[in-house]
Amino acid sequence: MASREADDASLPQSDCYVGPTHVYYNLGPRVFWFFSPVPISKDDVERVAHLARIGIDSTEIDAYTADLDRILDLVEQMNEISTQGIEPLAHPQDMQLRLREDTVTESDQRTLFQSIAPQTDQGHYLVPKVIE
């Protein structure tokens, strides 16, 4: 079981909050969480597929739910390792992003770039009408 300090103001301030996959315990200045054994549901998969804008056929939902459940089981082995007080690593060499002069370095290549677009008109990319 791993724990970390509550630095997320969005966490509810009650003593115990049951999230979709975690149970949070608010013990004074620290919030402890652990993975709940609740498997991922079809609703979760539908919700995530919507967030990712991937249409999933109703006949495929069960298979994706089972696959994601197995993958998340694998991922939960992370909890065997304590990470208390460990700084997250985002880049292998902890490098800082470079800054450059704020000057124009690219030329206008709109025609070239739009030549491979599915649908354009007068320099614009075309999509279905969004506002009536």
Binding site: R4, I54, Y64, E87, P92, F113, P118
Partner: protein, 485 residues
């Protein structure tokens, strides 16, 4: 026959005018044509290659030609090439003609290399067997019932069958080293940031790194020399000098401390693989290297950690495929939402969808800390393990893979069983270190075995020296599948 020669040897032959680039292109194009059953290539453009070859022959005739003048190579179909399709193994990019060259492609072209074609790969580099490609699986030239490894499976199969002398690949969790190992080749994954990612279709941006798949360490040095170096167009490119890798090959390895990673030589390791890797280590000892035992205690967490970070980054990177600016667009939609959903449902294969869904889940509200943040913390522990081990020794070794090439279809029904195959390679990407896979023998059924050598940041030179010295006293790298003779 020219295809039996290494890239370096062909380079010398071209310079001595014993052979012409145009002749080489005809020869390799003919071989590609005769072995189409391998499915190693997605695109071959002989006319374009011949055009480049004729230009190279003129440079070679004129004296002072660029370093790779006239040498035919192939690019993994993840590298953007102007004027040649870049599909990334996906229906989503099945019609994609990049308006620009990737930095790797441009540099190799400027150095005189001739692009024969684009090699098959797992869709968006997500896979370890080349079976997720929209363009069908690639067969291993050593045994056509088996996978070539992945995701750079087409590059490895093409070089192993000598359809081309060398090819580029990319490695996010082992995608250069594992196929190199399965196909009896030398595969180098450079330090993260050593080779520009500009124009390399992104899978997991903090892990992806391009590198060469070749017959020898000498060939890997030759290609890396041109591929490596700072690129202002890649925000994570390292601004560090590029050493003379040809000189690195000759670097003395006497007294070099080689760390045997105890977790990689677990008692459950396949005995044949164990025996061949240890035999190879014996050769390195004879060359003056010292063997010591080291530990990477958090290695087992590598796979779970990777399967949060890589899908999370993929879910973000692949959001660009929306059917609006380039690539596939669905023909059936009533509104914008349906346009996105149908385009992505039709354009992506099952494994890509699984990873996007896992990544989206891990990053969604309420889960971020438990998954992504936790994974990044474990990533630091894994990187710290390597840093600690590399104070005790100069390089680390172990087998590249837990098994030799598995059967086509063997692991496709269970995605997790496929993921576990990357156990020895994946932590190297999390730490961002360079690593080299070398052929060190064959199992009883004649399938190649690979040994992985992991080095310190930007120390590709030492890895290449070890590979080169080893290949001077052994001949595993000279073995080729039956059809090659």
């Amino acid at each position: 026959m020219p295809h039996r020669q290494s890239l370096s040897t062909l380079g010398q032959m071209l310079r001595r005018r014993e052979i012409g680039s145009e002749e080489l292109v005809h020869h390799f194009a003919d071989r590609i044509n005769k072995q189409q059953d391998l499915n190693a290539f997605i695109t071959v453009d002989t006319d374009y290659a011949l055009q480049q070859a004729r230009a190279a022959d003129q440079l070679l005739a004129g004296g002072n030609p660029p370093p790779l003048a006239g040498l035919p190579i192939a690019h993994k179909d993840i590298f953007c090439t102007q004027g040649m399709l870049t599909t990334c193994g996906s229906k989503m990019l099945g019609n994609f003609l990049s308006p620009y060259d990737a930095t790797v492609v441009r540099r190799l072209k400027d150095a005189g290399a001739v692009t024969l074609g684009k090699t098959n790969m797992d869709e968006f580099a997500m896979g370890s067997s080349n079976e997720t490609s929209h363009f069908g699986p690639v067969h291993n030239p050593w045994n056509r019932d088996r996978v070539p490894g992945g995701s750079s499976g087409g590059s490895a199969a093409a070089v192993a069958a000598r359809l081309v002398s060398a090819a580029t690949g990319t490695d996010t969790g082992g995608s250069i080293r594992q196929p190199a190992s399965f196909c009896g080749l030398t595969g180098l994954k450079p330090t993260y940031g050593r080779v520009s990612r500009y124009g390399m279709v992104a899978y997991a941006s903090s892990l992806d790194q391009g590198g060469p798949i070749t017959q020898t360490a000498e060939d890997a040095a030759l290609l890396l020399q041109t591929m490596a170096g700072f690129d202002a167009r890649d925000s994570t490119s390292l601004d560090a000098p590029v050493p003379d890798y040809a000189a690195s090959l000759k670097q003395n390895i006497e007294g070099l401390r080689i760390g045997l990673v105890s977790e990689f030589f677990d008692p459950s390791l396949d005995p044949e693989i164990n025996a061949h890797v240890r035999e190879a280590l014996g050769e390195l000892e004879k060359l003056g290297a010292k063997l010591i035992d080291v530990s990477l205690p958090n290695s087992a967490a590598g796979i779970p950690c990777y399967y949060v970070i890589a899908p999370a980054e993929a879910s973000s990177n692949l959001s660009r495929f929306d059917g609006v600016r380039y690539g596939h667009r669905s023909e059936s939609y009533a509104d914008l939402q349906a346009l996105y959903e149908n385009t992505r449902a039709e354009g992506f294969g099952a494994e890509v969808k699984r990873r996007i869904l896992v990544g989206t889940y891990a990053l969604s509200a309420g889960y971020y800390e438990a998954y992504y943040l936790k994974a990044q913390q474990i990533r630091r522990r894994i990187a710290d393990d390597f840093s600690q081990a590399l104070t005790e020794c100069d390089v680390l070794v172990g087998p590249t893979t837990p098994t030799t090439a598995f059967l086509l279809g063997e692991k496709t029904t269970d995605p997790v069983s496929m993921y576990l195959d990357d156990i020895f390679t994946i932590t190297v990407n999390l730490a961002g270190l360079p690593a080299l896979s070398l052929p060190v023998g064959f199992d009883p059924s004649g399938l190649p075995i690979g040994m992985q050598v992991i080095g310190n940041y930007l120390d590709e030179g030492t890895l290449l020296a070890i590979g080169h010295h080893f290949q001077e006293v052994t001949d595993w790298h000279l073995h080729a599948p039956g059809e090659v003779a």
